[in-house]
C-alpha cells in the first residue's frame, strides 16, 4: 500500500516540474531540440536515397536491410524531437497507446505479408488440362 502512495507522490511531483509552468499538457519545446531532430532527419533521409540512387552496394538485400534500418531510426527521431513523446507525457498514456498501436501494426503487417506470400507460393499454376477438368 505504501508503495502505491509513493508512486502517486512521484507522479505529482514529476508533473509539477513542467506541467503547471505554462499550459498543462503542452510540450516543452526548444530550438536545440528541433534543430537536432531536423539535422538527424536530413542525414537519415539523405543516406538511404544516396545508397539507392548511386547503387553503392551491389547486393540489393543488404541495401534493403540498411534502408529499412534507417527508416526505423528516423521514425524514432521524429517521435522524440518533433512529436515530443516521452514516457511521462499524459501520465504515460501516450506511450501506452503508441505501444499498443505498434503491436497491432506489427501483427497486421507481418501477418498479412506472411499469409499472402505463402498463399502465393502454394498456388499451382493452372494448366489447360486442369481447367478442363475443373468442377
Amino acid at each position: 500500500m505504501s508503495a502505491v502512495s509513493h508512486n502517486h507522490d512521484d507522479l505529482v511531483h514529476g508533473h509539477d516540474d513542467h506541467g503547471h509552468g505554462h499550459d498543462e499538457g503542452m510540450p516543452h519545446v526548444t530550438f536545440k531540440g528541433y534543430m537536432t531532430g531536423f539535422i538527424l532527419s536530413v542525414i537519415l533521409t539523405a543516406i538511404p536515397f544516396w545508397l539507392v540512387m548511386a547503387k553503392v552496394i551491389p547486393d540489393n538485400k543488404v541495401t534493403v536491410a540498411i534502408v529499412l534500418g534507417f527508416a526505423v531510426i528516423q521514425v524514432l527521431v521524429h517521435m522524440v524531437y518533433f512529436l515530443h513523446l516521452d514516457t511521462t507525457s499524459e501520465g504515460g498514456w501516450n506511450m501506452l497507446a503508441l505501444i499498443f498501436t505498434a503491436m497491432l501494426l506489427v501483427i497486421m503487417f507481418a501477418g498479412s505479408l506472411w499469409v499472402m506470400y505463402h498463399m502465393n507460393a502454394n498456388m499451382m499454376p493452372v494448366s489447360v488440362e486442369d481447367m478442363r477438368n475443373m468442377p
Binding site: 505504501s2 510540450p27 526548444t30 534502408v67 521524429h78 517521435m79 499524459e90 498514456w93 501494426l105
Partner: protein, 207 residues
C-alpha cells in the same frame, strides 16, 4: 492492516491531487488516440501495398515509373515544412504573433509545394497510361500515396483556418491547444511519409 487508518489520512490528499491532474487535459490525449487510429489506417494500406505491390499485370514496374530525384525533392519539402512548423511553435512559446503567423505561412507554402509535386507526379503517371486502373500494384500505390496526400491537403486547410483564428483571437489557451494538435498532425504525416518513401519508392526501385 495496522496502518490503514494512517494511510487513509496520508493518502487522501495525494490521491485527490493525482485525480485532479488527470482530468485537467483530455484533448491532447484524445487527439493522440485519433492519430494512433489514423496510424492503423495507414498500416492497412501499407499491408495492402505489401501484398499487391508486385502484381504488375504485365504493366510497368516501380523501376520503370518512379523518379527518385522528384521523390527526394518531395521528401525535402515535407521535412522543411516540419522544421518550420517547429519554429512556429517556438515563436508561440514566446507569444510573438506575427512571427508565428509568418512561420505558419511558410509551413503552408512547403505543404502546398509538396502537394504540387505529388499532383505533378500523379498526372505524369496517369498520362503515361500508368493510372490506378492499370494494375493491382498501381491501384495500391495510388490509394496509399493518395491517402497521405489527402491528409496533407486537409492539414493545409486546417493550417489556414488556424492562421485566420490566430490572427483574430491571439494566443488564447484554446488557440495554443489547437496549434499543438495541428503540430502533432503535421509531424505525424511526416512520419508516415518516411514509411512511404522507404517502403514504396526506395524498396520499389530496388525490387
Amino acid at each position: 492492516m495496522a496502518n490503514t487508518a494512517t494511510m487513509n489520512n496520508a493518502s487522501a490528499q495525494e490521491f485527490y491531487l493525482t485525480e485532479e491532474h488527470h482530468v485537467e487535459n483530455g484533448t491532447m490525449l484524445g487527439f493522440w488516440l485519433y492519430l494512433m487510429s489514423d496510424c492503423l489506417i495507414f498500416a492497412c494500406l501499407f499491408a495492402m501495398y505489401g501484398v499487391l505491390g508486385a502484381n504488375y499485370a504485365a504493366g510497368p514496374s516501380p523501376k520503370d515509373l518512379f523518379d527518385l530525384e522528384l521523390v527526394a525533392l518531395n521528401t525535402s519539402m515535407l521535412l522543411l515544412s516540419s522544421i518550420t512548423y517547429g519554429f512556429a511553435m517556438l515563436e508561440m512559446a514566446r507569444k510573438r504573433k506575427t512571427a508565428t503567423l509568418m512561420w505558419l505561412a511558410i509551413t503552408g507554402c512547403f505543404g502546398l509545394a509538396f502537394l504540387g509535386i505529388e499532383l505533378y507526379e500523379f498526372h505524369h503517371l496517369i498520362h503515361e497510361g500508368a493510372g490506378p486502373q492499370r494494375s493491382a500494384f498501381l491501384s495500391a500505390f495510388f490509394t496509399l500515396v493518395g491517402t497521405h496526400g489527402l491528409h496533407v491537403t486537409f492539414g493545409c486547410i486546417w493550417l489556414v483556418t488556424l492562421m485566420v483564428q490566430l490572427h483574430k483571437n491571439g494566443f488564447t489557451t484554446v488557440m495554443r491547444r489547437r496549434l499543438n494538435c495541428l503540430s502533432l498532425f503535421w509531424h505525424f504525416l511526416d512520419v508516415v511519409w518516411i514509411g512511404v518513401f522507404t517502403f514504396v519508392y526506395l524498396l520499389g526501385v530496388l525490387r
